[in-house]
């Protein structure tokens, strides 16, 4: 398997020499995606972790054409880049955006919705590390229920974040987008395949990849991949696609691993009570009821 994955992508590095934290899941997603898309990928990255670690003049780390957008403007700049290159006669290129969870689900959702609505020929990849990590771990619209962040402190009165994650995958799908997918850096081959598939589809493509942040999640840097795998295995995340108007589940765990084990491994969930964990487990079960009913396998 490992060789198959490595052999399926470029040996070239396009995102290399950056200063991301050890074990950064976001940088892994960007690195792998660019190895799929190759040298003619044009990356658009908003203000956020990946631009902060990669674009500090004169230390610029992308070896493909790359540009920082405004925080809210990932999708709109992608639109402009794609239209501009096309207007100048280029055909063989891929306009790809890499935005975090805040840049996607919060401040960038309007521009993203506009781009999907226009069906611009772009790939938008949301690397979801479940909080505003670049500014120091503040709650975003994709921070999960119960997570402690620097703006959702865990105390006696409130146990961290009180709201569940916004469902960006189904929000994208509700636009009747040509292709949307969920992924996790813990299942990197699945992610790579989805990026490849997206690169072959005309119109707007949205991939939502879970990309743990050891710094923000409170796990060791060498646990990124394992925890990204476990979030899928315990059923709190899922690997799926939306295409031709239908949802498809790509991976159905035979039996879920323990939600409690997944949560208690992470500093951000350490404070959760049994009741909190049962709320999270119940919401997982409700979600899977929906998935089993509406997603093809």
């Amino acid at each position: 398997m490992a060789n198959k994955v490595a052999d399926s992508i470029s040996r070239e590095e396009f995102f290399y020499g950056h200063k991301a934290c050890a074990g950064c899941g976001g940088s892994l997603a960007v690195r792998a995606a660019l190895k799929v898309l190759g040298p003619n990928a044009v990356s658009v990255l908003p203000a956020g972790c990946m631009s902060a670690v990669g674009f500090n003049f004169p230390q610029l780390c992308f070896s493909n054409n790359s540009i920082i957008s405004t925080f809210a403007g990932t999708a709109s700049m992608l639109t402009g880049v794609e239209a501009g290159l096309r207007a100048r006669g280029y055909k063989d290129f891929t306009a790809v955006g890499f935005a975090g969870d805040g840049g996607t689900a919060d401040i960038g959702i309007q521009a993203l919705s506009g781009a999907i609505d226009r069906n611009d020929n772009i790939i938008y990849i949301c690397y979801d590390n479940e909080a505003y990590m670049n500014t120091g771990i503040q709650k975003s619209g994709l921070t999960p229920f119960g997570a402690k962040t620097t703006t959702t402190p865990a105390g006696a009165n409130i146990h961290g974040n009180i709201r569940p994650k916004k469902n960006m995958f189904e929000i994208a799908a509700a636009h009747d987008i040509p292709y949307a997918a969920t992924a996790s850096v813990g299942y990197i081959y699945d992610f790579i395949q989805k990026v490849r598939k997206a690169s072959q589809i005309q119109g707007t493509k949205y991939i939502h990849v879970i990309a743990p942040c050891p710094t923000g999640w409170g796990v060791a840097p060498d646990e990124t991949v394992d925890i990204a795998k476990e979030v899928v295995d315990c059923g709190l995340w899922y690997l799926a696609e939306y295409e031709n108007g239908e949802f498809r589940l790509n991976h159905k765990p035979k039996e879920f691993t323990s939600v409690e084990d997944y949560l208690k491994k992470q500093g951000r969930f350490k404070h959760l009570t049994d009741e909190d964990i049962s709320i999270i487990t119940a919401s997982r079960d409700k979600k899977w009821e929906f998935i089993n009913k509406n997603f093809e396998l």
């Binding site: 540009i67 207007a87 100048r88 521009a111």
Partner: protein
């Protein structure tokens, strides 16, 4: 050359058609909307070969234009008022990235209270964003600015985005006969956009990067130099424009009867015509009245203003703007120009036209008489005056 009866918006759209933008990002807002409507019709009928992008906000309109410019394409967008403020982040971004985008702004009041009519508080609030700012007086000038704008903005020494301002309704929606240059002549005047500041597959670039304290101010210094370089480039461009199209413009300012004037109104935009008419009338009565119309607020005509005002007895600035708690921003800029040049003559600020309120011939006459007699430092036309550090 052909002649058409066009509104300011339509004239500007005609100029943009001749300029051949490759990407147009469009979002409607009164009183700008007719520009993007006309451009969509030109794309539909094939007379303009551009990617026309229906963005979902003004922020995206300019963000999209920045992306297109980064791809090396000539980009256009248009906005007004709340839209200009909503995209403000992208104004600074486009200027810092040295992307020579052209944008038309229909000058309009800003909420609250809501108001769709013309004043210049929207664009004047963005003087520090790094854009070249031109103010048209009539539809012909609007068309000509549209065509000249790209040549100025794209000049290698300038590489700065360009905002062409048209007074909302008063200019955007009034009709006049406009000369439209021939396509062939326009192409001779304005060649296709060529730049190194773009995505390049043979030589990949990292663009719009961060720059820390050591280098950031060098980029900002270069940005300042770029806007200043537009001074000469505007003059050169207007000279070439006159040679090809036969219409002459006068650079950053346009003077009227200032050579021997005792009392001068400095203003900008469409109200300048009424000021000139009033000056004519006063001249008949023996008052040596004159007018300076500021055509460009950035780069600012420091030297031109000092030269025009150095021998006057007093001057007034008539502007559709107020910087609350101080004075109109144009007044501040004009005073700075005179101070730097050692010109010490009395000057007064006249704030009018806010929210589209009419400025009458009688108002202008009163301004001249107030200038002559001396008045408060800052005067709201028809309301009264006050002094703030006079």
């Amino acid at each position: 050359m052909s002649k058409k009866f066009l509104s300011g918006n339509e004239a500007f759209a005609e100029g943009i058609r001749l300029a051949r933008p490759q990407v147009i990002s469009a979002y409607p807002i009164t009183p700008q909307t007719i520009v993007v409507e006309r451009l969509s019709e030109m794309v539909e009928d094939g007379s303009l070969n551009a990617e026309y992008v229906h963005v979902e906000s003004e922020h995206s309109a300019l963000s999209c234009a920045i992306g297109a410019s980064a791809a090396g394409a000539r980009a256009f967008t248009a906005t007004s008022s709340q839209g200009l403020l909503y995209m403000a982040e992208c104004l600074y971004y486009a200027a810092g990235g040295r992307f020579p985008i052209v944008m038309m702004n229909a000058d309009r009041s800003t909420a609250l209270p809501w108001n769709i009519y013309g004043d210049q508080r929207d664009s004047l609030s963005q003087l520090d964003s790094g854009w070249i700012q031109a103010y048209a007086e009539n539809a012909q000038e609007a068309l000509d600015l549209a065509l000249m704008s790209y040549k100025i903005a794209e000049n290698k020494a300038v590489s700065t985005p360009y905002m062409a301002n048209l007074d909302g309704f008063i200019l955007t929606h009034t009709y006049e006969t406009v000369e439209i240059p021939d396509r062939e002549q326009a192409d001779r005047f304005l060649p296709p956009y060529e730049t190194d500041n773009r995505i390049d597959f043979d030589n990949p670039k990292n663009m719009a990067f961060s720059a820390g304290p050591d280098t950031n101010y060098i980029f900002k210094y270069k940005e300042h130099e770029g806007v200043l370089a537009a001074r000469d480039v505007i003059n050169e461009t207007e000279k070439e424009f006159a040679e090809i199209f036969g219409r002459e413009y006068t650079g950053l300012t346009e003077n009227y009867l200032t050579d021997d004037a005792d009392y001068v109104i400095v203003t900008l935009g469409s109200i300048a015509g009424l000021c000139r008419e009033t000056a004519d009338k006063l001249r008949e009565q023996g008052v040596k009245a004159g007018v300076v119309r500021i055509r460009y607020m950035r780069p600012f005509p420091n030297e031109e203003l000092a030269e025009a005002l150095k021998n006057v007895k007093a001057y007034g600035v008539l502007e559709k703007d107020i910087s609350f708690g101080n004075e109109g921003t144009v007044f501040t800029n004009v005073n700075s120009a005179l101070k730097k040049a050692g010109v010490n003559v009395p000057g007064y600020d006249f704030v009018g036209g806010l929210g589209g309120r009419n400025i009458s011939p009688a108002d202008i006459e009163k301004i001249y008489s107030d200038i002559e007699k001396g008045t408060d430092s800052v005067n709201f036309i028809g309301i009264g005056g006050g002094n703030n550090g006079k």
